[in-house]
Symmetry: C2
Subunit: 226 residues, 2 copies
């Protein structure tokens, strides 16, 4: 069975990617990060998703990106913007974590090299996204090129980004066809925890894009909203 | 003053790179890693070197690479090879840490992006080295290419690897001319700690290459050997 490392945030996109890799008959080695994100709750969702898809292993790497700061996702002092016009974002928003996908992919590469996997999956998306530079197709290609110079001669790593050119609506449609349970896939940048339950805010960029995606599929999002 | 992020292991190569960056009048932002390395003693040396070169900041990132294992530098159960023929290494040795330089550079990129520095220095060397794939010039170029896709459009990052084509002897000569104190630059893969003092083993690949380099300069290595 072919092995693949899957970057798993616990969100809607990475849950869909898991389902795609599973359908393509990869043995799943999931990798998540405790990186000082605003709400570690997403790691609980990551664990559930890894279990649902019978991951062979699920590693959680501890890397504290708060030492660099400058992002609303890692700095509690910065506010997550709400109710923005997500279809017309021109700038990189404050929720951007500098070089996050480069860091995540470099850990995935270390993991893949040690278990002798050639395939790495990432849920990056360049259509309905938050304008993050490290979600662009040219970034994925540049990382794939790097991966083969970073490791033993004749390495042949492939970075799979199956969602890169899909709209959020198309991602959700794909996931539903593959029976992804989006009730256990978290997306919100600023969830509200009440009575030990996590509710999505419904107003951050990530919630707005997700809600629009479900609406376009004429389906109710099964996640809990505040 | 131009800012630069300098990857600082506390070793001979990165100490020399610090001196080169200082001479080129960069303001120094040093970055070291506690990554589960065999001997954290190198971080003490890194702190001394950062101080010597009046680093504006010195950050130490905690990233536990032991979760992936498979390297004698992060797994105490694996032995560091001794007395090898360092001039004729054909294979990647067991001291190789998978994707380590990719991970280190991706953190340096995050740091550089947050402080608005365009320059990153790394002490990678492709001549007198341990045959690690992520020390090759083509790796450095591939990372530079990646860096500019990973970050805001029109980014212009430069990865400086000033030692890449130098022999160990030439690196030491350069450092001595720049008044580097190699007594506080640690190289050994398997140091011996005795009475709170750190002694180099003198037998691992790193020690052998270093000793040869000093010998070729007809100078005694000021570091303590066991």
């Amino acid at each position: 069975m072919k092995k693949a490392v899957i970057l798993l945030s616990g969100g809607l996109d990475s849950a869909t990617v898991m389902a795609i890799a599973k359908k393509e008959e990869y043995q799943i080695y999931a990798l998540s990060f405790s990186y000082g994100q605003r709400h570690n709750i997403e790691l609980e969702f990551a664990k559930k998703i890894a279990k649902q898809f019978q991951a062979k292993e699920h590693k959680i790497a501890n890397i504290d990106l708060r030492i660099f700061g400058h992002s609303a996702l890692t700095d509690q002092k910065l506010e997550v913007p709400k109710d923005q016009d997500v279809d017309n974002q021109k700038n990189i928003p404050i929720t951007y974590v500098p070089a996050r996908n480069t860091i995540f992919l470099s850990f995935a590469l270390a993991y893949a090299e040690t278990i002798k996997a050639n395939d790495i999956f990432i849920g990056a998306n360049a259509v309905d996204y938050s304008n993050y530079p490290d979600c662009r197709p040219e970034f994925i290609l540049a990382f794939e090129n790097l991966a083969n110079f970073a490791t033993a001669v004749n390495s042949k790593f492939k970075i799979h980004a199956p969602l890169i050119n899909l709209t959020k609506s198309q991602i959700i449609k794909t996931g539903l066809e593959l029976e992804v349970d989006y009730g256990t896939a978290h997306s919100c940048y600023d969830p509200i925890i009440k009575n030990s339950k996590s509710y999505a805010c419904g107003k951050c960029d990530s919630c707005l894009l997700r809600l629009k995606g479900f609406q376009e599929n004429n389906i109710q999002d099964p996640y809990l909203y505040f």
